[in-house]
């Protein structure tokens, strides 16, 4: 946090953008920064990164499933953003453009990993470990264990989804974009996104039902 404050002080805190997760989802305040970054202002570009990096990392982590891949993908996303910044037209939705690049980079990375024989199917169990660092005893422990199993199951279910359905579900249900925004970010039509999201939700539910009932555990 102190590093962030120092950074904002150095770059002029009076016009520092808010974090993306704080804002209302619209990226209009980024327009002047984008214009300055296009002119070659590295500090403006850095501030764009600060404003948007959490969303980018979040999407990358949800699409790729682990922290290291999310970091690599985020770096590549910003390098591409910088490279193609001149192709971004003023007045367009910068956030949507950024989402589109993020999804494309994640798909490229996932394909590269798969081609290299790496497994992408398991989600980083980081928070489960944190949740069980000091497990409570008794009934609470049992309830928490059950909950953790359910969450792990959902993550595994998400990992089994096809690439496009997964991206649509992440943007629509987890990032909270509207169907139209999701469609723009994915370069498809709203009706397609609706169909992909519907299919993804049904598959996740079906996957969890099947495994929970097979394991004899009620949801």
């Amino acid at each position: 946090m102190s590093a962030e404050i120092a950074h904002l002080f150095m770059t002029g805190a009076h016009d520092a953008p808010r974090r993306a997760h704080d804002d209302d989802g619209r990226a209009d305040h980024l327009a002047p920064l984008v214009a300055r970054a296009r002119a070659g202002d590295a500090l403006a570009f850095e501030r764009i990164m600060i404003a948007t990096e959490q969303r980018v990392v979040s999407v990358a982590w949800r699409l790729l499933g682990n922290r290291e891949d999310a970091r690599d993908a985020t770096q590549e996303v910003y390098l591409r953003v910088f490279k193609y910044l001149d192709r971004f037209r003023a007045g367009e939705d910068f956030q949507g453009w950024l989402y589109r690049i993020t999804v494309n980079v994640c798909h490229d990375l996932a394909r590269k990993r798969r081609a290299g024989g790496e497994q992408l199917d398991e989600f980083d169990p980081g928070h489960e470990r944190a949740a069980f660092a000091n497990p409570p005893g008794g009934a609470d422990a049992e309830r928490l264990t059950l909950r953790a199993q359910q969450l792990a199951l959902v993550r595994r279910a998400l990992a089994t989804l096809p690439e496009k359905e997964r991206a649509a579900l992440v943007l629509r249900d987890l990032e909270g974009l509207s169907t139209e925004e999701t469609a723009r970010a994915l370069g498809s039509r709203p009706v397609t996104v609706r169909s992909q999201v519907s299919s993804a939700r049904a598959k996740i539910k079906s996957y969890c039902d099947r495994l929970l009932h097979k394991g004899g555990t009620a949801q």
Binding site: Q75, F82, S198
Partner: protein, 265 residues
């Protein structure tokens, strides 16, 4: 409006549970779910599954150092490569990828047009060449005289040379692929009719004549006392049109007088 059935409702439930349906459809599903306990249960399950999904994929806190590391790596890379935002050409700014797609399409169209033009030109060339076969080469080669054996029935060398157009030739040759009758003939001015061809026994070698023709379909032949083999060589060396004319003697003359036993005199 059709009534909402369980099947239809269940197809819409994943969207209904997240309020993704339009208002009219949502009212329909809600009305159905209100009356159907099974669908109501499914609605609840979908809602719970969605809540679980959101909870399961809540982004962990990666910490400020994680983000600082990303920013540092990106900025270092930018400075090291001295990358600047690329300056696309005015064409790219105007059209972007559309220009590339349009150019590709135009090239493909041009290639198709050229291929079609050459194909037609080649076809026209063959027709012209066939029509323009020299008149001398359309003449019939000397025919074997009656009583002359087929082996002796040869065309003089100069006639053979003269009558060799580019795509058609007149020359006697042995037909070794298919035997022909001994002495078929075609009258002068007779129109060739393939239906009149006799059944040919296999294994009989006969002299036949290749006769150059400029017009397919009709063969005007001179006095020929043997089977005429008419070949037209097209521009394509693999395509040769072959006609066979029947011998005159095998076509009985209905006016020929016969004796009392019905035999020819």
């Amino acid at each position: 409006m059709r009534g909402m059935t369980c099947e239809r409702a269940r197809a819409l439930l994943p969207l209904y549970a997240a309020h993704d349906l339009d208002s009219a459809r949502e009212r329909e599903v809600a009305a159905h779910a209100g009356a159907c306990a099974g669908c109501r249960q499914l609605v609840e399950e979908f809602a719970q599954s969605r809540r679980l999904t959101v909870e399961a994929l809540k982004t962990p806190d990666f910490g400020e150092a994680f983000y600082a590391q990303i920013r540092g790596a990106v900025l270092t890379e930018i400075r090291r490569g001295q990358r600047t935002p690329s300056s696309p050409s005015p064409f790219a700014l105007l059209f972007g990828r559309r220009l590339a797609y349009a150019a590709t399409f135009a090239v493909a169209l041009l290639a198709c047009g050229l291929a079609l033009y050459h194909f037609r030109r080649a076809a026209d060339g063959v027709e012209r060449q066939l029509v323009s076969v020299p008149a001398e080469s359309r003449q019939l080669a000397p025919l074997p005289q009656p009583g002359v054996s087929s082996q002796q029935a040869t065309v003089p060398e100069e006639t053979r040379q003269r009558s060799r157009p580019r795509f058609a030739r007149v020359s006697p040759q042995k037909n070794t692929r298919r035997g022909l009758p001994e002495a078929a003939s075609v009258r002068a001015g007779t129109r060739f009719d393939a239906r009149r061809l006799p059944e040919l026994p296999l294994g009989t070698n006969r002299n036949v004549y290749n006769i150059a023709l400029s017009s397919p379909g009709v063969a005007e032949l001179g006095s020929v006392n043997s089977v005429a083999r008419i070949e037209i060589q097209t521009a394509d060396p693999n395509i040769r049109i072959i006609w066979l004319a029947p011998r005159e003697s095998e076509a009985p003359d209905p006016n020929e007088p016969k004796n009392e036993n019905g035999e020819r005199k």
